[in-house]
Each structure stands twice: as structure tokens, then as C-alpha cells.
Amino acid sequence: MLEILSFLIRRISMANAKGKKLGYSSQLAFVVSLIAGSVGTGNIWRFPRVAARNGGAFILAYIIMMAIVIIPVMMGEHVIGRLTRHGTPGAFKDFAGRKSTWLGAIVVIIMAMTASYYSAVLSWVVYYLGLSFTKGYFGVDKAVLFSSISNGNPMTLLLFVFVLGVSAFIAYKGVSGIEKANKIFIPILFIALLVTAIHSLTLPGATKGLNYMFDFKFSDFLNYKVWLEALTQAVWSAGPGWGLVITLAVFSNPKSDVALTSTTNGLGDMFAAVLAGFAVIPAIFALSPTTEAAIAMCASGNNGLTFLSMTSLFEVMPAGHLISILFFISLLMAGLSSNVCHFMICSLPFVDSGKDRKKSILGIFILLLVWGAPSAWNATFLSNQDWVVGQMMIIGVMFSCYALVKFGVRRVRTIYLNNNYSNLKIGVWWEISIKFIAPLIAGIMFVWWTIQCFGWEKNWWNPFGVNNFGTFVFQGAIMAIVAYAFNNKIADSIKNNYVPQDGSFPDVPVNGFSS
């Protein structure tokens, strides 16, 4: 793996040295950017705990879901971005028609919401990274410490501004900035994960964790809840419906293979998730006093596992202090590389409308500062934003499927996926996936989570609740109304239509981000 990574870096550096060109310097640089955008904290803290709870049946279901739903949708989104060469509102306008512009605008709003609270989560990670260096969390009550960091802490707020500033600065540098940043982020992420996994696997009793992670029960495989968990993991981790693939594909080479690139993107996301599983699960089972305690730890939620349980483990683990540093570095690199993409998704539509790149980034920075500060100050507010975004992302998958169906799935597959530059030939199965399987499964997942949320809070209808139906409908409706109200204004502001009529992909346009 290290050889592949070093080759990758060499290839990217060689391409950079050949001189500046619009878009990514090479196809590999593009794939690395896609993987960097997809791999986030969800791979490192969500996948391991869900995998440990559900075993091998979950992992198999996850691989199947990635293959039949997520990777096909990402292929379609890749075509949308590369063909229209616009951020999501312009992409939906040129691909699915003027009346669909607002769907792309909703995606931008969802990503702005994501970036606002995600930056707050990253500020916690930076905080814990600092504490790892000084062994600051050793010997203290982990729950009290986490509560003090995530609620009303001025230092967290300061770190939140720092994380937002770094993300904005990298996004401001455009595609070349993202490439350069990922040359640092991605190797560090994978090396840190690999070292943590090797250490974790060598702990006495590590095989107990592997057994829980991979043990296959046929009854679990037939359990619909395992499949829904697998789909949820795949959607929330890989990033279809976020506008990520559409936005990054805007800058891709028109003469490269869409299907192979998207497949590598999906596989890269799975690679990071499974590697994180090897890093986290064996350690939990090896160091927990009982198997029951280890399972309870895996059921303790994302924040609970990372900031309470893992920190407790690092304290008793051999060389735990160093592994703690590596773990939080990998979490930070994964999160930061995704956050930069969130910035790009939010800013590109303004550049498409003829706005200055600098002003667009600055505007988004200020917006996210105001929107995200409550999350950095109050963990309950953050939890609310996380819930709303999770549900909206599932809807985002349906938007992408709708756009592809409206444009014509046969047309997309035969003209754009299977063109002269394709190494992987895509069959009719892709059309079936986009037309029927992906929207149906996304719909089932949306309904399942919605039904589940009725049991979480007594006042499920309350629009100001934390994780309930009312708050999702309230905030989702505001997003939809705002986006719909501005549909024509946004559509009119995006003047250029780059889509050629001859079935080819247009060249990367000259805009603030493309060089």
C-alpha cells in the first residue's frame, strides 16, 4: 500500500511539474481528490462501531450496497458534473432543465449546513489532538472533559474559526490548492491508519475483535435492519447526493474513464472504512474488561466511541499516547480534506454566476462562521444539525437519480459512460440501478429513519426539537422554500451552457477555481 501511495504522489508531482493546465494535473490527482472528499470521519468512527455490532453480514451487505447503489449513483453524478461543468445549481439546470435548478440549490444549502457543524466537530478533534500530545486527558473523567470541550468552551470556538479558516484558504486556492493539500492529507491519513491497525492487531486478544467484526450469521444477513445500516453507512460515508462528485468532476479531464474513476472512488472509501475497522475494533475488544463492555462501547454512538471510549483505551494501551496522536491525526486529515470540498461545493455556484472567487469564499466563510458558531458552542445544537443533514442527504441521492432519469439513463450510459475512453464497459444493470434500485432503496432508508425518529423524542412534532421529525420537516421546508423561491433568479444568473451537442464532454472552463 505504501508503494502505491508513494507512486501516486510521484505521479501527481510529475504531472504538476509539467506545467499548469486547467483542472486536475492528472487523472490520479482527480481520483485522490475524490477519495479525499469521500473519506471523512464517518469512515473512521462510524464504520468500525456499526461493523462490530452487526458482524460479517453487515460488511457483506455494505459491499453489495456500495456496488449496486452508491458507485452507480456516483458514476451518474460524475457525468452530470463533467458534462455541465457547473456547480450543483447550474448542473441541475443544464442537465435536468431550468425548473430543476432549485434541487441543486438545496444541495448547496445542505452542504453549507454540513460544513458549519463539521468544522465544529473538527475543532473537537484538534482539541483532542493537542491533549494527546500533552497527555491532557489521561487520568481525568472523560465524560466531564468532553462535555466541557463541546459546550461553552472559548478555545473550541477559536479552533472552530481556525478549522474554517484553513478549509477556506485551501478551497480559495482552487483545484491546485486541493491537490496540494491532499498530497499531505491522504498519505498521512492512510499511514496513520495503517500504523494504528498494525498496533491494534498485535495486541493480545485482538482476534476476539476480528471475530466479532467478521463472524457471519445467515440470520443477520436476512435481517432488514442490517441492510439498512449498511446502506446508511454507504450513503453517509461515500457521499452520493452531496454534490461532492458533481463539483469535483467539473474540473476533470474530458478524455478519461468515468466508470473506472467512480469505481476507484467508491473502493477507496471502502478501503479507508475497513482499514479503520482493523484499527479500532481489535483494540476495543483486546482492552475492554469483558466482551459485553466492548459491545457496549461500540453501541455508544460516534462521539461516545471516539471521545470517551477510545480515549479511555489509549490511556491503558501500550504506547497509547502515540497511537492517540496518530488516531486523532487520521481523523483530522479525513475530516479536513472533506471540509475543503464542502467549501468548494458551496462557493462554485457563486463563481458560476459570475461572482469573484475571493468574494465568494469570503462570503461562505462568514456565513459558515455565523451558522457554525452555535454548533461549536453547544453540542445539542450540533446534534440537531447532524440529524437534519443526514436525512436531507438521502433526499439528495433521489435528486441525482431524478436528474439522470430526466436526461435519459440510456443516453448517459451509451454516450457518456461507454465512450472511446472507457476501460470499464457499463451494462444495462446501471440503468436499472439508477431508475429503480437506487431511488427505491434511498426511499426505504428515508422512511426507516423517519419512523425511527418518532420514538426518540416524545414531542416528535416540535419544530425546535433536537432529533425529531418536526425539526427535520421545519428546516427541510425552509431550505426547499428558499431554494424554490430563488429558482429563476439562480437559473438566470448562470449564463454559460457548456454542454456540447455532439455527445462529447466539454473542456474544463476557465473560472476562478480551475487553475
Binding site: 502505491i4 487523472q27 460479517g56 467484526m213 476507484t264 476501460n423
Partner: protein, 39 residues
């Protein structure tokens, strides 16, 4: 570890790590071809 867990671990490693390595190899091959065609 149970035999089925060992099998699943090998299956997952091959299907995820193996196919990822294969797709990266294909991309590198494709990039090389593209560069030589452009030259």
C-alpha cells in the same frame, strides 16, 4: 476465530483491498496511455 469469520476476513480483504489496488493499477495504466497519446 471461527472458520466463517476467517473466511469473511479474507473475502473482505480481497474484495476491498484487492479491487482497490486493481483499480488504481488500471488508472495508472490509463494515465500512462493518455500521456503517451497526448505526446
Amino acid at each position: 476465530m471461527t472458520p466463517i469469520a476467517i473466511f469473511m476476513m479474507i473475502f473482505t480483504s480481497i474484495s476491498v483491498f484487492g479491487t482497490f489496488a486493481w483499480s488504481i493499477y488500471r488508472l495508472i495504466h490509463m494515465s500512462k496511455k493518455q500521456v503517451s497519446e497526448e505526446q
